[in-house]
Amino acid sequence: MIPNRIVRFWPRNLYGQILLVAASALLVAQMINATLLMIGVRNRAASETAAMVVSRVANQIERMEAEGTPIAQRDQWSKLGRPLKRGHQKRYSPVAIGLYNGPVIIESASEQHELTERAQEFLSQGDIALTNVKIFSAPVHLLPAQLREPPLRRWQAGRFRSPDHQKPKTAILLSARLPDGKWINAAGLVRPFENASVIALLLQTLTLFIAVMIPLALVARRIANPLNQLTASVQKFGLSNEINELPSAGPDDVRQLIEAFNAMQSRVSTLLGEKDVMLGAIGHDLKTPLAALRVRIESVEDEPEREKMASTIDEMVTILDDILTLARLGKSGETAQSVDLGALVEAIAQEFDPVEYSVPDHRFIATIRPVLVRRALRNLIDNAIIYGKMARIEILEKAGFIEIIISDQGSGIEASLIENMFEPFTRAEKSRSRSTGGSGLGLTISRAIARAHGGDLVLTNREEGGLRATFSVKK
């Protein structure tokens, strides 16, 4: 599992994810680059210094040879660290050379085999045969003073200073055996890694980020924006049957998706239109024979029998009306207008008994289709009175919604069954009997009406017993 800490920073949308992944990948790549670069720079500096040390040693031996100084005159060697000709001073590197009775051995020094090989090859070309040539890399502060100080002094004098005054930490140490048994030891300082190159690296990283991230952001936006529009459009399509053709935009893949959606939308809309026409026809065609039947039963002499027939027909008409209302909710001819919901509730409350409704002291105004909302509220109040003895109605405003709460004093509904109540033709009593009337579509219709107004219908059991229906509409 991914820890929560990380999840919190993980963006949820496509745009954020693309950018975050790309930025992280770039960062990792740049870190690897930087490490490789630093290792490279360090190796190069070491081999440069080694070359200097080797060439200085070769040079020195050559000079000694030329001036005929016997090798055994070891006093001379202590001065070898300094150039013999002043004019060349500037080019001289910070290398110190000394003659010893043995090799300078430093515990923590590490032999540089590749450099050793190259030095052996180079030095073997001279007249004096050096043996046991070895090159080490060693920390500066462990060098014997004789080898350490002259180059450091020169370093501090500024000639070899790096721009940011860093002291060299590493030295290249060369030791070789002269034919007479003496040992020649030489040390040179390795130029430290400079901060300037770190800054250069950062600048490079920044440039790369800008060069990659800006175009990437633009492309990601080009993909994400049409997708978001598509989502909004799909959501809207669910609410109303209005078609709004989405302009196709973005890369081909997204463009094709949008075009496919547009095509689907118009197909679905055609189907819905056909459904409405068909339902209208069914409604009309069923009502005509029902109306005929309703007229004909007046000739039935047996009055109780006639009354039963009439109520059966009424029931069929109620169900038919409910089905038609539900099916054509999106196409209701009624236009939305701003309505005083408090007055609406009060007007409906007068049709029922027993109802408790305390009139609010201010108005609750929302843009609604009053006939539909009235129908939804009538259903709810009716249910409360039938199943819960009475209806108590409250109205309040909450976070951009107006809530109308209808509570009763019945036995409530088992929590696990509440959601089922919104299914068409579900009833609170198990028998599905029609003894209490209604089509079994009441709650389905009421919820659909609430949702068509941007709100919802929620049923909850009250702690003090009974059921609470919260009908909300967007303000």
Partner: protein
């Protein structure tokens, strides 16, 4: 209703309704002429002295609304619409183009007869149709539409009223300036489904005040006249 047998014109394209309904109405003491379309209905209106038209809205060819508009424009007999649609908007349209009443299919024939009698009685008593129908009033920025049964406040917000409240407000507004006793108001507001009883008048008025008065405790529109009843005191314009 001077004739003992009022003559009804029944216009419906459905023989399954037209025929049994015609027979039923004849048994109830009406004289019936039944036709299947608007064109035949027009000629029947010319040839007979029709007292009332029962008119189906949904018909092939010219529909019921169009014929109703024609009858109303030519000052013809009263019309009761028979509609299959229960959508409120359709009923309102019917009333607005001059129908006197409507019943929604499937209707109880007994109820239809009751409605027919109410309309015929009103016509014979000489009450003009406009007294009940198609009036719009405005007062202090409010508008009251008696057909659509709507009340809008000065900001255009719909303030829904129960039918009782509506009848009460309409009775008061249409007789602005007159003092109306509780008995008179009871008479005026008794609806189809039986009106409120005496005490309810005061309740209705206080509900109305809460909705239309800025200060229900100090009403400016609906004033209580001591010992008399109520008076609507704000100037009312008929629209």
């Amino acid at each position: 209703m001077n004739k003992s047998r009022p003559h009804l014109l029944l216009v419906d394209d459905e023989p399954s309704i037209r025929e049994p309904l015609g027979k039923y109405l004849e048994r109830q003491g009406f004289r019936i002429t039944d036709v299947a379309d608007a064109a035949t209905a027009r000629s029947a209106l010319l040839s007979y002295d029709i007292d009332l038209v029962l008119l189906d809205i949904m018909m092939p060819g010219e529909d019921g609304l169009s014929l109703c508009r024609h009858i109303s424009a030519t000052d013809g007999p009263p019309v009761i619409l028979l509609t299959a649609k229960s959508e409120e908007t359709d009923r309102i349209v019917g009333l607005e183009i001059g129908a006197d009443d409507y019943v929604v299919k499937p209707f109880s024939p007994r109820e239809l007869v009751a409605r027919v009698k109410v309309v015929l009685r009103r016509v014979s008593s000489g009450k003009p149709k406009s007294d009940r129908m198609g009036e719009r009033y405005s007062f202090a920025g409010w508008t009251l539409n008696s057909v659509q049964q709507t009340l809008h406040d000065p900001q255009g917000v719909l303030v829904p009223l129960s039918s009782g409240e509506h009848r009460m407000l309409e009775a008061l507004v249409s007789r602005a300036g007159q003092i109306l006793s509780r008995d008179h108001l009871l008479d005026l507001t008794r609806g189809r489904e039986g009106g409120p009883f005496d005490r309810a008048i005061d309740n209705q008025v206080s509900r109305l005040r809460r909705k239309i008065e800025a200060e229900p405790k100090d009403p400016q529109h609906i004033k209580t006249i001591w010992g008399g009843g109520y008076r609507f005191s704000t100037e009312v314009k008929r629209l």
